[in-house]
């Protein structure tokens, strides 16, 4: 690798430091870990969505060759471990007792000498069930005649919580008196993050040291350590959580799953390392899903298209347990970002949550908490308004954008947007795609009876949770951290409380540190994921790493620099006040030729520290962000529809993103490609479906459809840069914008193509059959 000049490290397209191991097959993921005397665990799961457990017979399984132990809910109950707390303040069964509440719920764990024997043993466990009627529809769950699902709770209802924000009366009044009100029901279907690596762990309890080491697929290793300590009763210092390379997370690896707890229990019981790696079916049917929001939006507006008020209602289906990973104060996450990029004078939003006999969740899938639902809803409904008023959707958006002069902007639902220039991103997107020309082409095609659509989305995100006076998970404040150790030779070890899963932290955080310390990226090594060595942090999700840990990196480095300046003054034989940091060096003011580098200082810190100054050169910084960051952008999608089959072809997709200061444009672009592809999959094919009996119909990759290279459109990306005023380097976070912003662009394009038929909305996934049935119902035979 060639050395990169210190002064221009941020903003450089630098090849990733993590790649050499991955491209040579030398990454180390959880399933790659093999320990001496390790045994395997498999889980017995319920075929029923709702059933009373009548009996579990383990004798046959225990008699199978190689089977060492079978653990049931009754066993865990004795240890007080049959239930565990969720991050949302609910509790979840580790192994079922009494009854099962969703299909594929964990019922027993079988530990055996080999993987094969564990699966054979699991098959041999006999479980007797008495099936109960399953509740699949969240609306039906609230009806009085619906069976009570959670008999363990004091509240004898399937309703979990109600949340609201904004001004109910003012919003109602505005809606009553408005020229125009549009109302749209919008379902954001249940989806699953489905990282390519499933979840798993190796639990290694050492009877000699009394310590438990848990290698686990974790986006938040420290939080997992603390919670595991709370659940298991093991003292926290006797637990070491290591999250090795993680094969994608997207929110799926934020939670603690019953399988981890069972593996820990098995290791404690057997005194041997226990490996449990779930199958894809287990992953899709039992781990954190996302969305499942059933929403209604109403926008009140004047004839001129100026919006007056927004009212939103949503029903959130959480499945059998409220296992969200939301900040405590926000049961509906940051759903109140639903006013989007628009200057609503008033707004009101409310969400009710409900239990059903489905897998528990839900997590933020490649987005900040419930932001995708909110963004999709407002961007979809703005198009409904445009259609109602006969105003071009681009023009309607422009008329209602929060203007640059209003930043920092206080939204009607209470957020303070840090910075934004929405029209600039819109303009760039329209210009790049050739909007005017496309609209002319569309008109021509419509005359010929062809179906072409153009869809826009001008989204605003809210990421980087978050300010500690507002944000905590299970009581732990949502700061993040960086610890820097500058070695005598000027090389740096940088450790973080975050845990990347492909985001490129080993490169981008090295860039931030190198920039701040005047070093080369090659001089910095980034380490994450080991709770014994990394400073405490809340982990990587919700696009929070750059806004929090990235900020901590810059500020820890500046802390190093403060001490380094004292050493530099000592080396330059002048007063501290005469030394300045410029061009990546310490220089004597007025005599820039007299300078020392960070490397010189590092050596001196260990070999020649100034008298009275502590030797060494290290710093740690725990960063409490003063505000969230608000990335934004405009996406434009162009589609053509086959009238025969209902097939939708994405012809063009232009994405203009603004994530503030860009640390590494190559990585930013990669994040955008990936997020757009997920948004595409969600818009057109991904859905976790259940039948009326609560069978999960999407429990593997033949039915949970992920786009391949063939379906995936070619992405065109561009950007504007509006730095965050409160972030030390102006960065906002980007991993999730494309997934948040794109679903509306896709659906808006399809609806636009069909709008001559009077179509105003189609729920995702937009399958060929949905389009086909609209076409046929309008007599278009193909």
């Amino acid at each position: 690798m060639s050395a990169v000049q210190a002064t221009d490290v941020i903003g450089q397209r630098i090849k990733r430091k993590e790649d050499p191991r991955f491209i040579q097959g030398l990454g180390r993921y959880v399933d790659d870990i093999t320990l001496p005397r390790m045994v395997y665990m498999a889980l017995v799961r319920s075929p029923y969505a709702h059933a009373r457990l009548k009996a579990i017979r383990t004798e046959a399984a225990l008699a199978m060759p190689g089977v060492l132990a079978v653990i049931t809910g009754a066993d865990l109950e004795k240890a007080g471990l049959a239930w565990m707390p969720t991050l949302a303040g609910d509790r979840q069964m580790v192994l079922a007792t009494g009854k099962v509440l969703f299909q594929y719920q964990e019922v027993a764990a079988v530990v055996a000498e080999t993987r094969e024997a564990a699966f054979d043993g699991a098959e041999a466990v006999e479980v007797e069930y008495e099936p109960l009627p399953a509740v699949v529809d969240p609306f039906a769950s609230l009806r009085p005649e619906s069976p009570l699902l959670r008999e363990d709770r004091e509240e004898k209802t399937n309703h979990i919580w109600h949340w609201e924000a904004g001004e109910r009366e003012a919003t109602e009044a505005a809606i009553r008196s408005a020229d125009v009100v549009v109302r749209q029901d919008v379902v954001f279907q249940r989806v699953h993050p489905a990282p390519l690596e499933p979840c798993g762990c190796v639990a290694d309890y050492n009877r000699g040291t009394g310590r438990l080491t848990l290698y686990v697929t974790s986006q938040a290793p420290h939080a997992h350590r603390t919670l595991l300590s709370m659940v298991s009763g093991l003292p926290e210092h006797m637990i070491r959580v290591i999250s090795p390379d993680v094969g994608g997370g997207f929110g799926n690896k934020v939670a603690i799953y019953p399988g981890y707890v069972c593996a820990v229990v098995a290791s404690l019981r057997l005194g041997r390392p226990v490996k449990w790696v779930e199958t894809r079916t287990e992953n899709l049917t039992s781990t954190q899903f996302a969305r499942d929001y059933h929403m209604t939006a109403e926008i009140a507006a004047g004839r001129d298209g100026r919006v007056k008020a927004l009212r939103v209602r949503a029903l959130a289906d959480h499945g059998a347990f409220d296992a969200q990973a939301n900040p405590t104060r926000y049961p509906a996450g940051l759903f109140s970002i639903c006013t989007g990029s628009y200057d609503f004078p008033t707004a009101f939003a409310e969400v009710d949550a409900v239990y059903t006999n489905k897998a528990p969740g839900g997590v933020a899938y490649r987005c900040s908490f419930r932001v995708t639902e909110a963004s999709y809803l407002i961007e979809r409904t703005m198009d409904v308004l445009a259609d109602e008023l006969g105003i071009d959707p681009a023009e309607l958006r422009r008329r209602n954008f929060v203007p640059p002069a209003k930043f920092p902007y206080r939204s009607a639902l209470g957020w303070t947007y840090d910075s934004g220039d929405y029209a600039k991103a819109l303009d760039l997107a329209l210009e790049t795609v050739g909007y005017e020309e496309l609209r002319r082409e569309q008109e021509e095609r419509r005359r010929r009876g062809e179906l072409m659509g153009i869809g826009l989305s001008s989204f605003t995100e809210i990421v980087g949770a978050g300010p500690n006076h507002l944000f905590d998970i299970a009581g732990i404040k949502m700061f993040d951290s960086c610890e820097l150790r500058v070695h005598p030779t000027g090389k740096v070890l940088a450790r973080f409380g975050t845990r990347h899963q492909g985001q490129g932290h080993e490169t981008t955080f090295a860039q931030v540190v190198a920039q701040e310390l005047g070093l080369s990226v090659d001089d910095v090594i980034v380490e994450e994921g080991d709770t014994d060595t990394a400073p405490y942090g809340l982990g990587t999700y919700g696009s929070r790493s750059t806004p929090t840990a990235g900020a901590a990196a810059a500020l820890a480095a500046r802390r190093v620099r403060e001490k380094a300046l004292k050493i530099a003054a000592h080396l330059l034989e002048c007063g501290e006040e005469d030394v300045q940091w410029a061009d990546g060096r310490f220089q004597v003011q007025g005599a820039p030729a007299r300078s020392v580098t960070m490397k010189d200082v590092a050596l001196a810190a260990y070999t020649n520290p100034p008298p009275g100054l502590e030797p060494g050169l290290e710093a740690v910084f725990y960063y409490d962000p003063p505000n969230l960051t608000f990335p934004f952008g405009t996406y434009v999608c162009v589609v053509d529809i086959d009238k025969g089959t209902g097939d939708v072809k994405v012809r063009r997709f232009v994405a203009v993103d603004d994530c503030g200061t860009v640390i590494n444009p190559m990585i930013v672009e990669g994040q955008i490609h990936g997020g757009l592809t997920e948004g595409f999959g969600i818009a057109f094919m991904q859905e976790i479906k259940y039948d009326e009996d609560g069978n999960c119909l999407s429990g593997n990759f033949t039915e949970y459809l992920l786009p391949t290279a063939v379906e995936t459109p070619r992405w065109e990306t561009a950007r504007t840069v509006t730095p965050s005023p409160h972030h030390p380097i102006g960065a906002k976070g980007v991993g999730e914008s494309p997934n948040v912003g794109s679903p509306a662009a896709f659906v808006n394009a399809v609806v636009d193509a069909l709008s001559p038929l009077g179509v105003r909305h189609i729920d995702m996934p937009v399958t060929r059959e949905k389009v086909w049935s609209i076409l046929r119902s309008h007599g278009i035979r193909g």
Partner: protein, 290 residues
């Protein structure tokens, strides 16, 4: 997931393989490419006691046209059908089918014969080879027997093969002059089974009138289906738009799809219509361009 335990045998000759099947009866299962069988075994839905691997038997991968018949050996993989210049030049219906079976990696192992024996109504080869009027040769303890493919395909996942027989050859009549074929498939994404698919093989006389038509339907019935009324209707006709439209309607009427996650009955039936019209047009273009 992990399959249940089984015994494995890799015979070196066909008689040896047949003898193994005879000895183990229902317990035994032939494995060639294994791309349908192994997934079913991993879910423990299939749990044969003995796998008889025929991949080590020499001489089963022939693919050649001889005396007016294309002979496809039991170890010919989808990928070989896709890449073969013979198939590409002479049998566009089969080349096109090969290119949409599962995904490219599965095609490197899965075999055409295995797919027919598996008899999944959503398998592509059944429909294509019905349109091509293929026959199959079964080899058992008593020797060989030959069946028309439509007599071989009995029901969903069920064929006329006995537990002690192996499908040892697929025979496809070589195309007549002025003939062409096409295979069109609607799938939700690459690698998916068909929502619906249609294979057609047509021949014309010098006046552009259809002399023979084969129309095979995929994933819209308990087995792969032949759209006989459409085939009969096309005979003697020029492929004018209204002729194709009518053939599409007849093919749709011949289908009996069931609703599933891929689509409703009505959608699948209408896709048969659309695909039949398009496939016939494409096949005719190929036939008449030659």
């Amino acid at each position: 997931m992990i399959p249940a335990a089984f015994d494995y045998a890799a015979p070196g000759s066909l008689p040896e393989a047949v003898e193994l099947l005879r000895r183990h009866g229902e317990e035994a299962k032939v494995i060639a490419g294994g791309q349908s069988l192994i997934p079913a075994m991993r879910f423990r839905l299939a749990r044969p006691g003995v796998l008889v691997d025929i991949q080590r038997i020499p001489g089963l991968d022939f693919l050649a046209e001889e005396e007016g018949v294309l002979r496809i050996g039991p170890l010919v993989r989808h990928a070989e059908m896709e890449a073969s210049p013979l198939i590409r030049d002479r049998y566009p219906l089969l080349a096109e089918t090969a290119s949409v079976v599962a995904d490219p990696l599965v095609r490197n192992l899965g075999t055409v014969a295995g797919s027919l024996v598996h008899a999944d109504p959503a398998g592509d080869w059944g429909a294509a080879l019905l349109a091509a009027r293929a026959r199959v040769v079964l080899t058992g303890p008593g020797g060989e027997r030959e069946l028309a493919l439509e007599d071989f395909l009995v029901d969903t996942f069920t064929t006329a093969i006995s537990p002690d027989e192996i499908l040892t050859e697929i025979r496809v009549p070589a195309p007549a002059p002025r003939s062409g074929g096409a295979y069109l498939k609607i799938e939700r994404k690459v690698g998916d089974f068909a929502t619906a698919a249609v294979g057609v093989q047509v021949a014309f006389d010098a006046d552009g009138r259809c002399t023979a038509a084969g129309v095979g339907l995929c994933a819209v019935g308990p087995t792969s289906l032949r759209a006989r009324e459409a085939e009969a209707f096309l005979a003697g006709k020029r492929f004018e738009p209204e002729v194709l439209e009518r053939a599409g309607e007849l093919a749709a009427a011949a289908s009996s799809p069931v609703a599933d996650t891929r689509g409703s009955e009505a959608y699948k039936r209408d896709m048969v219509r659309i695909l039949t019209v398009r496939a016939l047009a494409r096949a005719a273009e190929r036939a008449l361009a030659a």
